[in-house]
């Protein structure tokens, strides 16, 4: 088994190095080889993790710069390796032709090698069982994703996104380092052994862990970087980042929750509340978004919120010692993480081919792409259906499991907790409905009706590989959705958990039969032939794209309903011909929504630190020598006083 792991490591290492060798080589053979190598590595790791899921865990040691990192692949790690390798497999297929879209050859090679490094570091984060090892690969993951976010650095907004992303990851890593040190001091060993701390210390540990992993996962107060980093990075990378990297953060949170022994109630409630808020805010911001990839980024925040809700439920139910329901909640969270990684990377990849075809990210400029990008729109539709949790697909199953856990919350004793659960359930329902609305808007505005710009009209279908990658994911979504009952029962037996899920297989067979019968009946009753003519425009014969509904128009009712959250500011500056302001000449109107987190949460501390550093630099940067000598004189006096005091 260890042989396989070393094989995976070597193959990935090779795929990092190969493109770097031929950095200047024009033709893409080197890149293709390394991508195929990545695919091979992913397949081996899928086989490996299936072995672990069925058989027993694998533990081994690797030596990095003198210190031994102990590695362990248990069922939790294996589950996340499956996620990483499936998405890695499909993204590498996708980027065989996606990488060719970049103009300079060096960039293409760099993209492929950094992607291999990114996948390698994520896999090793998941399997490392040692505090230092975890931190080692965790920072490696952040650095490689940082370099990837900074990929097309010419654009101004990529630079801003890169800096914002780096600063937020660095902030998260500090809290992680602090919590690891806290654990290391208490347990004495660097390996993951469960720690029992005083209540005060363990809640500090919990807070730092939550902030550390929350920043990386995109929990609400720390989610802002996601909405900048994902649109800025290349689509194959943002598929990997929001599909997989966020799940690695969730893996970290779960792994360390297993470690802390006495857990307090308020932890579970805090995670639940933050999860609900991130779900609600995530989807609400996604609804108002005009940038396609930012819309998907915000919907990742929403899905992360849902996963955090299930983790919060798991912690609450374990606190009330109801293991059966708790395990169902945990499996719901993991299953949703798996589903989300599938359909989110599917959506990002298809969005990537759309952005490539129309050379813009603004959905107000797209439209009518379904005419000449048939397969991409079909794949995006499947992704949209499964993300808005509609029945035959996998998104529905995990949300159904979460609802069932909510419905079982009657067995909890304390009424206050039940009330919180009920409110979070209703908000959760609201988010899943809003998600449906958001993706109707996304699919409808981007693909349907009349193209709104020249590029949208001439958009060509993405080439072969950019369809094969997402297609695999789409098929997976359908298969897992339909066979969910069988898969989960199989896992349930192994883990001793019973899910009472409806057997979607039977239901889909039933629907299929009814569908065929209905189609036959309708075909011979109804009139056979059909005709194509102009859309009804109340008598105007030429229907142009201006008369169509736009994205902001579509989300306008929801913006007015949730205006307390959006705080929309309508600004219009009309100019008139006459002084009395009667005959209107021209004007400019704009609707700006509040950037709450940026203006109130991130900027004030930054301004304060800037102010301090400005003041500090002024003191140090005087031209003359005297003030420096004066500082030294005063420090020497101070030191002497200390000496006088210390020496008795």
């Amino acid at each position: 088994m260890v042989l396989l792991i070393t094989a995976v490591f070597l193959i990935l290492l090779l795929s990092i190095v190969i493109p770097l060798i031929g950095l200047k080589l024009k033709h893409s053979s080197l890149r293709k080889i390394s991508l195929i190598l990545i695919m091979l590595a992913c397949l081996i790791s899928i086989f490996l993790s299936l072995q672990v899921l069925l058989g027993k865990d694998i533990s081994f040691q690797i030596f990095v710069s003198g210190t031994a990192f102990s590695m362990l692949i248990d069922s939790l790690a294996a589950f996340f390796i499956i996620i990483i390798s499936i998405v890695g497999f499909c993204v590498s297929i996708y980027s065989i032709s996606y990488a060719e879209h970049f103009e300079s050859v060096k960039k293409r090679n760099f993209l492929v090698s950094l992607m291999a490094l990114f996948i390698l570091s994520m896999m090793f984060v998941v399997i490392s069982h040692n505090l230092l090892g975890f931190l080692f690969f965790w920072e490696l993951m952040s650095i490689s994703s940082f370099l990837l976010v900074l990929f097309d650095y010419e654009k101004e907004e990529t630079k801003k996104a890169g800096i914002f992303y780096f600063v937020m990851t660095q902030l998260g890593t500090i809290f992680l380092i602090f919590s690891f040190i806290l654990i290391y001091i208490n347990t004495g060993t660097l390996d993951f052994t469960n720690t029992s701390l005083s209540p005060f210390l363990s809640s500090i540990l919990f807070i730092t862990l939550a902030i550390g992993f929350g920043t990386k996962a995109g929990m609400v107060p720390f989610h802002k970087w996601l909405s900048y980093a994902h649109p800025a990075s290349p689509s194959s990378i943002s598929a990997l980042m929001s599909g997989v990297m966020i799940k690695v953060a969730i893996y970290g949170l779960i792994r360390f929750l297993f470690i802390i022994s006495q857990q307090q109630l308020w932890w579970g409630i805090a995670i639940l509340i933050f999860g609900t808020i991130s779900a609600l805010l995530g989807i609400i911001y996604a609804l108002k978004e005009q940038d396609l990839k930012r819309l998907l980024a915000y919907s990742s925040i929403e899905n992360i919120g849902i996963i955090l809700i299930s983790i919060g439920l798991y912690m609450i139910f374990t606190y009330y010692s109801l293991p059966a329901i708790a395990l169902v909640a945990l499996f719901a969270g993991l299953f949703h993480a798996f589903n989300h990684s599938l359909f989110k990377s599917l959506l990002f990849m298809t969005a990537g081919s759309v952005v490539n075809a129309t050379h813009t990210k603004n959905i107000e400029k797209m439209g009518g792409l379904v005419k000449n990008m048939k397969y991409t729109s079909l794949l995006f539709l499947i992704g949209a259906i499964s993300i808005s949790a509609l029945p035959p697909f996998n998104g529905f199953v995990s949300e159904l499991m979460i609802f069932q856990v909510f419905f079982k919350s009657n067995s909890i004793s304390s009424p206050l907790i039940k009330l919180i659960l009920m409110i979070s359930m209703s908000l959760f329902a609201l988010t899943s409905a809003l998600a449906a609305a958001c993706f109707v808007k996304a699919f409808g505005i981007v693909f349907l009706a009349v193209p709104r710009s020249k590029e949208a009209k001439e958009a060509k279908e993405a080439d072969k590989f950019m369809l094969v990658g997402p297609a695999i994911l789409a098929i997976l979504c359908m298969v897992i959705g339909v066979f969910s009952f069988q898969i989960l029962n199989f896992i349930g037996e192994k883990a001793g958990v019973s899910f009472d899920l409806p057997n979607l297989l039977w239901i889909s067979i039933g629907t299929f039969i009814i569908g065929v019968i209905a189609y036959l009946i309708i075909r011979n009753i109804g009139n056979k032939h059909s005709r194509v003519s102009e859309t009804w425009g109340c008598g105007i014969n030429s229907q142009n794209s201006k008369m169509e509904y736009t994205a902001s128009g579509f989300s306008e009712p929801i913006v007015t309903i949730f205006s307390s959250i959006y705080q929309p500011k309508k600004i219009n500056k009309p100019t008139f011909y006459d002084s009395k302001g009667v005959i209107f000449k021209e004007g400019q109107a704009s609707l700006s929504l509040i950037k709450f987190f940026e203006e109130y949460l991130y900027l004030p501390p930054l301004k304060m630190v800037h102010y301090i550093s400005e003041k500090l630099y002024k003191i140090q940067n005087k031209i003359d020598l005297d003030s420096f000598i004066l500082y030294i004189f005063l420090t020497i006096l101070a030191l002497l006083i200390i000496v006088g005091v210390v020496i008795r």
């Binding site: 990095v64 710069s65 003198g66 210190t67 230092l132 931190l135 080692f136 690969f137 920072e139 490696l140 952040s142 650095i143 900074l150 650095y153 010419e154 990529t158 630079k159 890169g162 800096i163 780096f166 600063v167 660095q170 902030l171 500090i174 380092i177 602090f178 040190i181 806290l182 290391y184 001091i185 500090i204 630190v609 800037h610 301090i612 550093s613 400005e614 500090l616 630099y617 140090q620 940067n621 031209i623 020598l625 420096f628 000598i629 500082y631 030294i632 005063l634 420090t635 020497i636 030191l639 002497l640 200390i642 000496v643 210390v646 020496i647 008795r648």
Partner: protein, 481 residues
């Protein structure tokens, strides 16, 4: 015998430099000089059992710690010499460096290397003090060689602040000298003797002299209240020289502080001394990382990051975690040299260090930018590079003493990392409007950058066993654990 060899080499080198006409031979000889230093001392390290006393009244004595520091200095000097070959040629080309300066530059370069070797090998603290003074003077001349006017102001500040503070450490020496008399009659300043009798010396007097010594050598290594000379002099000096200053000359201060702290640590005043070191260390990390935040000048930013790293080493010393502090010194010297070398190339390309007028540098000098990015990622302490492990372990021992301080230091490291990346990204991604022609960079300037990047990658992933044993021997001798 060893001292004789070194002096002969130095004389030969300086004679050749004085009389040779062509710059190439001068540079060639300097490279040979630093290479020979490395070879001699690594031979000594491997063959002889340490410590070896050089002079009869063992004023000069080589033990594992001093050879380790000499080797670091030798490596950085060698790389700087290789870098200087191309760098000085381009400076002359730009007429920033006239003929007379070259002789002065190479002479003071070699004498600085010689005095560095003497500093690290001097067992007698007074000798250590004197050679430290000489290094101050020599590095001041090196700063002034680039005959831009404001270098004089920077050099003046450097000389004044360091030498006045060093006077105070001489007072500390005098007190130490008087204190050692009280033990067995004969008063001595030889470190090994002092180390053996440090228990018997009255702790109060020892603490008194430690404080005065600390003032002097803190100024030498840029600890906060005394660091004000460091940013102007390192950013004004030629990049080659500032790589030397940051990488190696600052180590003298840390070396002396370790030597002194080891004397006082086992005594009853040891905890008081470590508290003072801790206070200064945290103050340095705080002030340096905060004032890094709004920098637009790249070399000033790198200078402030040296101040911050010195503060972090001070914290490591105060906690008694010597093993990782020593490794940190090596890693920091290498990364700092890499940063300054790449900054040098960028300076040659765009003529100024301000973020505003460095335009589309990534296309014009890809290697320099790559070196800068790798250097900045390494200095922040990310995994693939050597600073990650020492940073983690020092923070762990800091957390063992107090959690709050650990969080505070982590926050300041975060501010430093944020400011570093903010400037590096703004620098490398700034798009210029008009077409800028590519500045011809000589191969000899590129070799050290490539070597350093390779060394950093290797060190980051593989901790050589030989180095580990060497560091264990030193820590065993210094702190006995």
């Amino acid at each position: 015998m060893i001292l004789a060899i070194i002096i002969i080499i130095l004389l030969a080198v300086s004679l050749i430099v004085l009389f040779s006409r062509s710059r190439k031979t001068m540079n060639y000889v300097t490279v040979l000089h630093s290479l020979s230093i490395i070879l001699i001392y690594s031979y000594l390290l491997l063959r002889f059992n340490l410590p070896i006393s050089v002079l009869k009244n063992n004023y000069l004595m080589l033990d594992a710690f001093s050879i380790y520091e000499i080797l670091i200095a030798g490596i950085i000097f060698l790389l700087a010499a290789i870098y200087a070959e191309g760098y000085i040629k381009s400076l002359i080309h730009e007429k920033e460096f006239n003929k007379t300066n070259i002789k002065l530059f190479y002479l003071s370069y070699n004498f600085l290397l010689f005095s560095m070797v003497l500093v690290f090998s001097s067992n007698n603290l007074a000798l250590l003090w004197i050679f430290a003074e000489i290094t101050t003077i020599l590095s001041a001349t090196l700063i002034v060689t680039l005959n831009a006017k404001e270098n004089i102001v920077a050099a003046m500040k450097y000389v004044f602040i360091t030498s006045t503070a060093m006077l105070f450490s001489f007072i500390g020496l005098i007190f130490l000298f008087a204190a050692s008399k009280s033990v067995n009659g004969v008063s001595t300043l030889n470190w090994d003797v002092l180390f053996s009798i440090s228990q018997q010396i009255s702790p109060q007097l020892l603490f008194f002299s430690f404080i005065f010594m600390f003032i002097g050598f803190a100024a030498k290594s840029g600890i906060v209240p005394f660091h004000t000379w460091l940013p102007p002099s390192h950013s004004k000096a030629a990049s080659d020289v500032s790589a030397l200053l940051s990488g190696v000359v600052l180590n003298i201060g840390i070396y002396a502080i370790i030597r002194m702290y080891v004397l006082i640590a086992p005594t009853s005043m040891g905890p008081a001394a470590s508290i003072i070191l801790m206070i200064f260390g945290i103050l340095t990390v705080a002030v340096a990382s905060l004032s890094m935040l709004v920098r637009t000048n790249l070399k000033k930013l790198i200078a402030y990051s040296s101040v911050e790293n010195m503060g972090f080493m001070l914290i490591g010393i105060a906690l008694g975690n010597m093993f990782w502090v020593l490794y940190y010194i090596l890693a920091h010297a290498l990364v700092k040299a890499l940063l300054f070398f790449s900054a040098g190339i960028i300076h040659r390309q765009s003529g100024s260090m301000k973020a505003g007028n460095i335009k589309d540098i990534l296309k014009l000098q890809p290697l320099a930018c790559f070196g800068l990015i790798i250097g900045s990622i390494a200095i922040i302490g990310t995994p693939l590079f050597p600073i990650f492990f020492p940073k983690f372990y020092i923070l762990t021992s800091l957390a063992q003493s107090s959690l709050l301080l650990c969080l505070l230091v982590l926050f300041f490291l975060f501010v430093a990392a944020g400011s570093f990346i903010w400037l590096i990204i703004n620098l490398t991604t700034f798009q210029g409007k008009e077409k800028i022609e590519k500045y011809r960079i000589y191969l000899s300037m590129k070799i050290p950058i490539i070597i350093l990047i390779v060394i950093l990658f290797i060190l980051g992933v593989y901790f050589p066993q030989g180095l580990q044993n060497l560091l264990k021997i030193i820590t065993l001798k210094l702190t006995g654990n």
